[in-house]
């Protein structure tokens, strides 16, 4: 693999596709669709190549040399602005065990969402162009190791998402799109502020011995790189690290979404077209927790240790609160949206434990939530396409009418409930094992187990109201799944069950890095490591 810039390819391949599509005529709808399909399929192939060449024992996290598939060169260099010194920003990509599962997830979900986009019926050219741009933004976030670059990708994803909801969405699409946009932008400003603050607080030493300010995430994790008077430097007795951490956390928490910043999600989901919901739930939500693990945690281990109880608390609130609100929903899609809030709570809880089991569980849960919730939104899409309603009480007895569909629904619902034999169980169990082992958050963990019960409650109740009982006469001519829908649901079901039976396939990818991260979090930015400088 040496020399071949595979990460650049996997990231910018969609942009290439977008350019191709822009050259096509509006009427060439099939060509547009197949171009997108081929591009996302190629992305999956590249992801598999990545996995095949992946070194399971390389840690990454804070150590540049153990990152894999690194691409690094000077991107922006401005010298001679007197007070700024040299501005030096790298194009720096690489993956480790934290990002590899997300890269796989992004490739997979983009491909599935492309198939799901097949019945988008107006302005296809614009839709698929934006779709591909979104794909690049997501992939870029997960492979970027330079904060500036990370931020660019983070923002890049915002723009196409806004239009995809705002143009191809449901009746209240403008409201939902604006809300999504402003809310995320609001968070981005915090991230931006902290990024700039960090830039001026830490330097990296170049090969020629000069010190320059840096956006390099890995350099920012090294407590000895901080200047003595930097605003966010641990060496500065009046530093603002605590406030910066909160700001950064809010920026990421909006994306997760964490209570109380979650209300954009139900609106965005309800209004977004099915494939965009799939992307939103499958990939975008993970960017929040990924950002925390990649940036907040290792750059601020000191604050992270102080705040772990609070993170666990919000995890618990997400789990319970999300589940209760889901229980009260009457709209199928909104219910799934709130179940996402609940399930992402497990990620927070696992992360908060700062244990290998908990963090492994959290990342695994990110992946599993991606596949399971993607499947749930596809399922909503299937029935919405046919009936143009999502009211749970409008249905009834669909199991007799659509048996194959009901089979997949059962798989997805029980996966969401955390049934053993499916991937969600392993990740939730690991989260609980990790979190329960930490005495300070044990009570919160015990309270969180209530989520298992409530999850079964709202899922099975929904299953019953939509699929069981006598068939609602209105729907006696509904057709069961068609080929395209099988093509989306079967791969996801297989992955969900495969990872439930053989979770090591995924856990082994992340384990080395998670160990390294957890170890790092417990031992760095302590009084000794900082004064030792």
């Amino acid at each position: 693999m040496m020399g071949f810039p595979i990460l650049t390819f996997i990231t910018f391949l969609p942009v290439l596709g977008m350019i191709l599509i822009l050259f096509l005529k509006k009427e060439q709808t099939n060509t547009i669709k197949y171009t997108t399909l081929i591009i996302t399929a190629l992305q999956v192939v590249l992801a598999i190549i990545l996995l095949a060449n992946y070194n399971y024992s390389a840690a990454g996290v804070y150590e540049e040399k153990s990152f894999q598939f690194i691409e690094k060169f000077r991107w922006i260099e401005i010298s001679g602005i007197s007070w700024l010194g040299t501005v030096k920003i790298d194009y720096f990509l690489g993956v480790d065990g934290l990002s590899m599962p997300m890269v796989l997830l992004t490739a997979l979900i983009s491909f599935i969402a492309t198939i799901s986009s097949w019945n988008i019926n107006h302005s296809l050219k614009g839709y698929f162009a934006l779709f591909l741009l979104l794909d690049t933004g997501m992939m870029g976030v997960f492979v970027a190791l330079d904060f500036f670059l990370f931020y660019i990708f983070w923002e890049l994803m915002l723009l196409p998402m806004y239009f995809l909801i705002g143009i191809w969405g449901g009746p209240r699409k403008e409201y939902a799109a604006i809300k999504f946009f402003i809310y995320t932008l609001f968070g981005s400003i915090f991230i931006l502020l902290v990024m700039i603050g960090l830039y001026f607080s830490a330097t990296e030493t170049l090969a020629d011995g000069t010190k320059v300010f840096t956006f390099n995430i890995l350099q920012l994790m090294n407590s000895s790189n901080y200047t003595s008077d930097g605003l966010l430097s641990p060496l500065n007795p009046n530093n603002l690290r605590f406030i910066a951490y909160l700001a950064l956390f809010v920026g990421f928490a909006i994306k997760i979404p964490m209570f109380p910043f979650h209300t954009w999600l139900p609106d965005a989901h309800v209004e977004a077209p099915t494939p965009i919901s799939v992307i939103l739930a499958g990939v975008l939500l993970k960017m929040g927790t990924y950002g925390i693990l990649r940036i907040s945690y290792p750059i601020f281990p000191d604050i992270t240790r102080d705040l772990m109880w609070w993170i666990a608390l919000f995890g618990m609130i997400n789990i319970i609160y999300g589940a209760f609100v889901a229980l009260a929903q009457k709209d199928f899609k909104k219910l799934i949206a709130y179940s996402s809030v609940s399930h992402m709570g497990y990620v927070l809880l696992g992360m908060a434990s700062l244990t290998t089991a908990g963090v492994n569980g959290a990342i695994f849960q990110m992946f599993n939530h991606g596949t399971i919730t993607a499947m749930l939104f596809l399922i909503v899409g299937v029935v919405y396409d046919r009936t143009h309603t999502r009211g749970i009480d409008d249905f009834g007895g669909l199991a007799t009418q659509m048996p194959a569909y009901t089979g997949f629904v059962t798989v997805a619902f029980f996966a969401a409930i955390g049934l053993p034999g499916m991937s969600g169980f392993i990740s939730e169990a690991l989260v609980f094992v990790g979190a329960f082992g930490v005495e300070s958050i044990r009570i919160l963990t015990i309270l969180s187990t209530l989520g298992i019960l409530l999850g079964a409650g709202y899922m099975l109740w929904t299953l019953q109201r939509i699929f069981f009982g006598p068939l609602n006469g209105k729907w006696s001519s509904l057709k069961d799944l068609e080929f395209r829908e099988y093509a989306m649901l079967i791969p996801l079901s297989i992955i969900i069950i495969f990872l439930g039976v053989y979770p090591s396939a995924m856990l082994d990818i992340m384990n080395t890095s998670v160990n390294s991260l957890v170890n790092f979090l417990h031992t760095n930015f302590t009084a000794t490591t900082i004064s030792g400088f």
Binding site: F432, L453, G469, P470, P503
Partner: protein, 695 residues
């Protein structure tokens, strides 16, 4: 037979039904005869389990086979150490007996269902689900660790859900399925927390490793209270699955499933999984935990028996009788009569499966009539069903020469000894009361169903004995209710191989000061396969209890039967009049202690209300705040826009520019022109650079 052969055979036994499930589920729609594959699979599984049982009990009775592999490995950081999560099997005597029982009943139910379910719209699917259930149940039986136990535990929950809801077009069936799953989950949460405690302490899920640690004095969080709590939490799993009070409410509703399913899952095997779980963790139960278990079991058996007295649905009577008998087993474990609990599990599995299948035969003959008030006189129409049903009824009532007598008598003797040793006399009192009630309501059921004159002539006239496919399983199961399979001496279970050599009370591992004094035991026969030798006091007390318990149980059962005949056969006393005289009590029993109503009024409506309140809160308050701040932003931007246009208008250029910039920016965002955003980012970066690093 070598160990590896044992292991391989057990794994084949475990996975064959899963194969049956997968094949029949995926291809069943195309190939209508595919259910035969499932039946072939279960028959092979049964034969293999007979072989395994024979070789285990005949040749390596004192040697357990354990095989395991690492499933998940995480950790390695110096801080956490390595966590290995193992999957594995443990084949001991209890396991092979359970393999035999589960597979036998499963096979008989499969065969019975061929006829019973004929013409069902999801015929193949039904058999596929039976395969899934058998796989999950066998998993519970063979596992050597708690996590796998929990995994299969949930999987039997799933198969139970699917089978109860087999006729999901009926709302009541779908309701019952959902209720069963959710009520079970309540217990499972307790069990899960218990497992978490053990894992946190010992970094393993494996039974033997945990027990070894406890025996070395390493107890959870260094506290005996936690050890007790852990035992009770794990027991909560059994409270759900084995339908103990207060979570028993799902089981009677589960009768909405097809009757063979009730026989297999909700009478013989799955509901016994809870009892099996408690036998697995028996050695780590402290005295306090055992007392809790005994009380829950005793109370459950009493509650269920009082309800069974007045039910009119043939399956409901049997369901409550199941709950009551499960309570017996749990109580028996609580009082330390480990062997009798397991013995009763086995004997009960056979006669209760027979009763349920028999009721299925009746229901089938009566064209889905389940109300015993509309039956009567069926003995002439269904002679074989009647004979087997009667045989099993005699067994469950605890009449000598039956298996039920042997196991029940042992349990009662155990409670009596427990009462004498600890002073908790209420437990034996409840035990004996329930014995009388059991005999009464079971014979009431037999008399109202089979004796007397038919009360619904139309249905009676059309009734006819089922074909041999349905009758043969009944005969096999009824035959297994006879004492001879278990002991040569019909009055003493101890003389039998079952009690004397196959199943032994394991040595408790809890610290001495937390055991019951009478459980203080010496170990005989080596460290790993030690057999408990009870203290002389306990042995003596059991001897003392043996004959009084036997006599009392026979007398009480006889009394119950006599009363049933007096009321319903000879009608010397008018049952309705008595019911009228004690109307409140009668209604209390008929309405199942109003527990469902109580749960509806409290837990369920409470949860729904809370959900609605939180949803309102989310919509109005949390989202309201978001929309409010958006409104505020728009307002400010409008004001500054106006300010810009009318007041400033060239006043101070910088101020005008600045507020105009804000107004412009916010307005633009609100109107959706987002393309300009990246430009702003660049501006913002420059401005912020200026802020952070002034010249």
């Amino acid at each position: 037979m070598t160990e590896s052969l044992f292991t391989i055979l057990s794994i084949i036994i475990l996975f064959l039904p899963l194969l049956g499930f997968a094949v029949v589920l995926l291809l069943g729609k195309r190939l209508p005869k595919l259910y035969l594959f499932e039946i072939a699979v279960i028959s092979i599984t049964f034969l293999l389990s007979v072989i395994v049982m024979y070789f285990k009990l005949a040749y390596s009775i004192d040697r357990d086979i354990i095989a395991s592999f690492n499933w998940i490995t995480i950790g390695a950081a110096p801080l956490s150490g390595v966590l290995n999560i193992e999957l594995g099997i443990k084949i001991d005597n209890v396991t092979v007996i359970m393999l035999f029982v589960v597979n036998l009943i499963s096979m008989l139910v499969h065969i019975f269902s061929i006829e019973y379910m004929r013409g069902d719209i999801r015929y193949n699917r039904y058999f596929a689900y039976l395969g899934l259930f058998t796989f999950s149940m066998l998993g519970i039986v063979v596992t050597h660790n708690l996590l796998m136990m929990y995994i299969y535990w949930e999987l039997v929950g799933l198969s139970s859900y699917l089978l109860i809801g087999h006729w999901f077009e009926k709302k009541s069936a779908a309701d019952a399925a959902k209720k069963a799953f959710i009520v079970n989950r309540i217990g499972d949460i307790g069990m899960f927390i218990g497992i978490l405690i053990l894992f946190t302490q010992y970094k393993t899920f494996t039974f033997d490793k945990i027990f070894y640690q406890i025996s070395q004095g390493n107890i959870p969080f260094n506290s005996e209270a936690w050890l007790t709590a852990t035992g009770i939490l794990i027991f909560m799993g059994a409270v759900g699955k084995s339908a103990q009070f207060p979570l028993h409410v799902w089981l009677p509703d589960a009768m909405e499933g097809p009757t063979p399913v009730s026989a297999l899952i909700h009478a013989a095997t799955m509901v016994a999984a809870g009892v099996f779980l408690v036998t697995r963790v028996f050695v780590m139960l402290t005295a306090d935990a055992m007392l809790v278990i005994a009380v829950v079991g005793a109370f459950t058996s009493l509650v269920a028996a009082t309800i069974a007295l007045t039910q009119n649905d043939i399956k409901k009577v049997l369901a409550y009788s199941t709950v009551s008998q499960l309570g017996y087993m749990i109580m028996s474990l609580g009082v330390g009569a480990y062997v009798f609990a397991f013995f009763h599990l086995v004997t009960h599995a056979f006669f209760k499966a027979c009763l349920f299948l028999g009721s299925g035969s009746v229901i089938h003959a009566m064209h889905h009539e389940q109300d015993i008030r509309n039956m009567g006189g069926l003995r002439k129409k269904l002679p074989l069903t009647y004979a087997t049903f009667l045989m099993s009824t005699i067994a469950i009532s605890g009449i000598p020469l039956t298996s039920g007598f042997l196991s029940k008598d042992g349990i009662l003797a155990g409670t009596l000894a427990f009462g004498k040793l600890t002073g908790h006399w209420l437990i034996p009192i409840i035990g004996f009361t329930v014995a009388a009630m059991t005999a009464f309501y079971m014979f009431r059921l037999v008399i109202l169903t089979f004796h007397g004159k038919p009360r619904d002539h139309h249905k009676y006239d059309h009734a006819h004995e089922s074909s041999w496919v349905m009758v043969a399983p009944l005969v096999v199961l009824a035959a297994l209710s006879i004492f001879i399979w278990y002991t040569p001496n019909p009055l003493s279970p101890d003389a039998g191989w079952f009690m004397s050599s196959w199943v032994k009370t394991p040595v408790t591992v809890v610290p001495e000061n937390t055991r019951f004094e009478f459980m203080q035991s010496a170990v005989q026969g080596g460290e790993s396969h030690g057999e408990i030798v009870h203290s002389p006091l306990y042995t003596e007390t059991m001897h003392w209890a043996h004959y009084p318990a036997m006599i009392m149980s026979i007398v009480l059962a006889g009394f119950g039967i006599l009363l049933a005949f007096t009321l319903y056969q000879w009608k010397k006393i008018n049952a309705d009049k008595i019911a009228d005289r004690i109307k409140p009590l009668y209604n209390f029993s008929l309405n199942k202690w109003y527990l469902d109503e109580a749960y509806d009024a409290t837990a369920i409506s409470g949860t729904i209300s809370l959900a609605k309140i939180l949803s309102w809160f989310d919509n109005k308050i949390v989202d309201g705040a978001v929309n409010g701040s958006a409104w505020l932003g728009r307002f400010v931007s409008k004001i500054s826009g106006l300010f810009d246009t009318y007041v400033i208008d060239g006043f101070v250029n910088f101020t005008a520019f600045f507020s105009g910039f804000i107004g412009f920016a916010l307005r633009k965002i609100h109107t959706g022109k987002v393309q300009t955003y990246l430009v702003f980012v660049v501006f913002a970066v420059i401005i912020l650079l200026l802020f952070f690093k002034p010249f």
